[in-house]
Structure formats: C-alpha cells, structure tokens
Amino acid sequence: MLAVSDLKIHYRTLAGSVKALDGVSFSVADGEIMGLAGESGCGKSTLGKALIRLEERMQYVGGEVTLDGTTLPIADDWAMNPYRFRKVSIVPQYAMSALNPTRRIGRMIDELLAARGLKGSTLRPELERRLAVLGLTPDVLGMYPIELSGGMKQRVVMVLSTLLDPSLLIADEVTSALDVASQKKVAGALVEFRDRGYVKSMIVVTHDLAILAQIADSIMIMYAGKLAEKAPTRTIVEAPAHPYTRLLLGSLPEVGIRFEDKRLPGIKGRPPSLLSPPVGCRFRDRCPLAFSKCVEEPPFIEIAAGHQVACWKADAHAQG
C-alpha cells in the first residue's frame, strides 16, 4: 500500500518557485485503482511524476512517501533507481513515443532488463504471455516501433512497465491521445492487469472523469496544488461534497468528452497562480458557496468512511 504524507514539490523557475504540490496526504490501498483528476495545472501530473522520478526542474521540498512499509527516497534520483520498474512503475503520457525508435522492441526490452540485472530470456515467456493478454503477437518484439500503430505501442509499453509486477503503477493520461473505442480497451486493460495481479495498486491520472467512473475504485480531485476531495467512485459521482467536484461533474457535457484546456463553462475565472498562492481556500474566488470562513485554509478531513474533503461547507453538503 502507498501512503503519502504532506508531500511538497515545487517547480523552479526564474520567476520563483511554483508550488505545484503544496502539502498532499493520501493513501492507496492494495488492489485499489485510484483516479486522480483536476484541471490542467492542478498538480496531478506533478504528483504522478514525483512518485517515480522528479524532473530536473522539480524540487523536493518536503513530505514522505512510503510504499509497502518502506520509505521511497524520491528526492534522491540515484537511490530511487532500485525501486523504479520493480516497485513503482509508470505508463507515461507519451507512451506512443516512449520506445527507442532505432531498436527492435524485443532487443530494447532485453537491454533494459540486462541493465537492471535481469535476464531477458527467462522473462521472455511471461512477456509473450502478457502481450497475448492484450491481443499482441510475439512478432511485435522483432519489430521497430515505427511498424506498430499508436495503440499497439501503448499496449507494449503497458506490458513492459508492469513486467516486474510493481506494487504501484502510475498511468499518466494514458487515454488522452486515443479515440473512444481505444480508450475503452486501454481502460479495460488496466483493470485486467490489476485483477490478474500484475500490479497491486494503481493511480490513474486523467482529465477524463467519464473513464474514471468506469474503472476507478476511488477518485481523488485536486485543485491548485492541493487535494479537494477523495472518495469512493460512487460517492464522488453521486454525492460529491466539494463544490469544485460538483462543478467539475456538472460541467462535464457527456461521457468521453474531455475538458482539458477549455475553460469550464460552469466555473468562472481561472485557478490562482501557484507562484504565490493565496491564503485560505484556493477555490474561494470561484466558489459559489464561499463565505467569510474561507479565508482560513480548510483541512482535508474525513466526513464519512473513506470520504475526505477540504471544504468548510462539506458537512452541510454531504448531509443535504
């Protein structure tokens, strides 16, 4: 199981530190698929990346991440290496271009495994079996990435990333670049991988609440570098407690249509700058329910079993 407490990650820019992740605490149980959603720039991708590999511009400021009882040294790129791939793995947003274009796929995988002290030949049968689960023949291992379609490349990456049965898989926007039919397939594959035990738990980062509604056990909503709400999927969809979640759901026109960079029609204004975020609730300026107390920061508290919210009015809501 994954436990994150008070994680703070900043982006270094010449204008100052962008507080992309400003004290985030949550946990993901074994076997849980947790959806992570929010507008562009809310910090969800940062969170996903922070759990496996900090980019050069990303700066660890504080907090702790434990996976299956061991603390992950996420601030230390070198010390983190043994955990990557074996314990934590990722299906990146750019899965279509994640394979070295000038190596045959099988050879690239063998070289990667060898570099991690594993033998490609012993893992080959399992690799082929898992490819077959996603409808790919072993032939793809003899091909160059350019010979595969985008969807096929993505499936290869999914199989490769989970080959060592990691405890945690981060699936970063895996459905964004696909058509609706392929989205469903990929989403189905994620569930299948969990059911077969290829991965213990999963964080699915996405813009697409509709996909999450289908596959996630729980959904976590982020806003401006902070957590807004986390609850079982049913609760989020049917009885959201945070006004932001409600607006997010309300502004969802229909299943399959994403809201990415479009301004949300139901939510006026834009998220605050994370260079110097305002004190108090960060959603205050856009919130229809804002009142005097919102100048203080609302704590992220449990209002029902497995349902956490950061809103002063959450209680009233959930009950009403």
């Binding site: 820019t13 010449l14 940062t46 700058s273």
Partner: protein
Amino acid sequence: MTSTTDSAPASPAAKAGRNEILYFALRNPKLLIGAVVFTIFLLGAIFGPMLATHEPMTFDAPPGMPPSADYWFGTTLFGQDVFSQFVNGLRSSFIVGTLAGFTAAIIGMFIGFFAGYRGGFVDEVLNMLTNVVLVIPTFAVLLVVAAYLSVRGLGTEAAFIGLTSWPWAARAIRAQTFSLTSRDFVGMARLNGESTLRIIFGEIAPNMSSYLVMTFILLFGGAILTAATLDFIGLGPTDSISLGLMMNYSVMNAALQLGMWWWFVPPGLAITAIVGSLYVMNVGLDEVFNPKLRAL
C-alpha cells in the same frame, strides 16, 4: 503547474512576454558578449574608414613596416596602409553580409512559407527546388559564375551568395510554418476567408519572428564567410578591398615567409570574431526565446 514556465512566446497574445524576453536578454551572458563583440566591429566598419589617415590602395608608405604610430596596423610589402585596408574591408564584409543575408532570408521565407502553408503540389515542387540547390555545392557554382564576370562589385557578390545560400533556411522555415499552420489561430483566419498572404504575414510570420531573426543571423554570418572565401580565391569584388583579398595578397606575396603577421592576422581575426560572435549571439537568443533552454 507548467503554465508559468511554458507560456509559449509564439502565442498571439505574447505582448506580456515582451518584458520578460528583455529581462532574460539582458541577463544572458552569451547574448551580451556576442552583441558587444559584434558592435565593436560594426562600429569599426562604420567609423574606421573616417579615422584612416591613408588611402587603402595607394603605395605611399614605406613598405613592409610593422605596426607603428603612423601606420597603426603596419604596411604591406608594397607600402599600403594595412589599417586603412582593414577598416574598408570590414565595411565590405558587413555590406556583403547584410545584402546577401537579406536576399537569402527573403527567398528562404518566401519558399518556406508557401511550401509549408500550402502543402501538396506547391510543397512538392518547392521542396524539389530546395533540395536541388541544397545538394549543389554552391561554392563551385559561385566559382564558375564569378570567373566569367570580368567586372564584379559588392552587390553582385552579395546577390550570388544570397541566391545560393537560402535552401536550409527555406527548409527550416517550412517546418516551422507547417507546425504553425495546424494551430487554432491560423485555422480561424482561414475560416474567416483571409487571403494566403495576409495569413502568412499577419498570422504566421509574427509568431515565428524570433526564429526568423535567428535564421537571418546565421545567413548573415555564413555570407561573410563565403564572401571571404571567394575574395581569397580572387573572385571577389574587382573594385574594392576586402578582408579575403587582404589575406590573398599577403599569402601570394610571401607575408608568411617574411613573418609579416600584421598583414594577415587582422583580416582573419576580424572574420572569426564577427562570425563567432554571431553564432554565440544566436545561442543566447535561442535561450532567451525558448523558455525550455533558460538556465535555472
């Protein structure tokens, strides 16, 4: 989280980015060093000839003198003032570089814009043309053309260099145009029924202005180098002195054997410094315009 750092300068509403770019420009050592060196030589080209106390081509000085108070850069084997030749040559270099750079930039832009924007058949034809000129060793073409022209001026030299050095620029601009054409604001302009020229010069060109500036800088530097090479072979302007010609005279007249370094060091050093400063400036500009490259 990346909204502040990835604010692409290519967005139509880049006005707010103007100050930011100036901020980074003034703090970029490469850009500043390059600009200072370049400016020094530019000033030399503009004001140098006024300071020169002797004519560049007359033989009125004592021959083969090292630098002295009277002859700042010494004199040639035939008694010409090296300083005067140098500053006049510097001026020729800048004139050729500017004219040739502009010619090549205009052709490259024209071809790149149309090929990238129109696509299809227009693209095919223009691409073929670009490839042919790209493959041809332009230097060899210049050789033949210049050899047959018995009277050559700075203008002809610049024109020839400009007419042969545009292909890589056309290619680069085509690729940029191609990616911009698929953007929303170009699509909007298209839907509004704006003419091709309007879209190209009203929507596409302004959004890659930084790129165009850098392209021009490289074309300018390349032209100076090519001109110096042509001059050195003796195919430069027939009516004036140039840095390449100075090197030619010095080599042909045993300046090396006689150790007359003041004759051949200044012209080569000037070209190296000018072109080098342009390259370094370009790297600096790239860092200023391209947020990804800005050092943290």
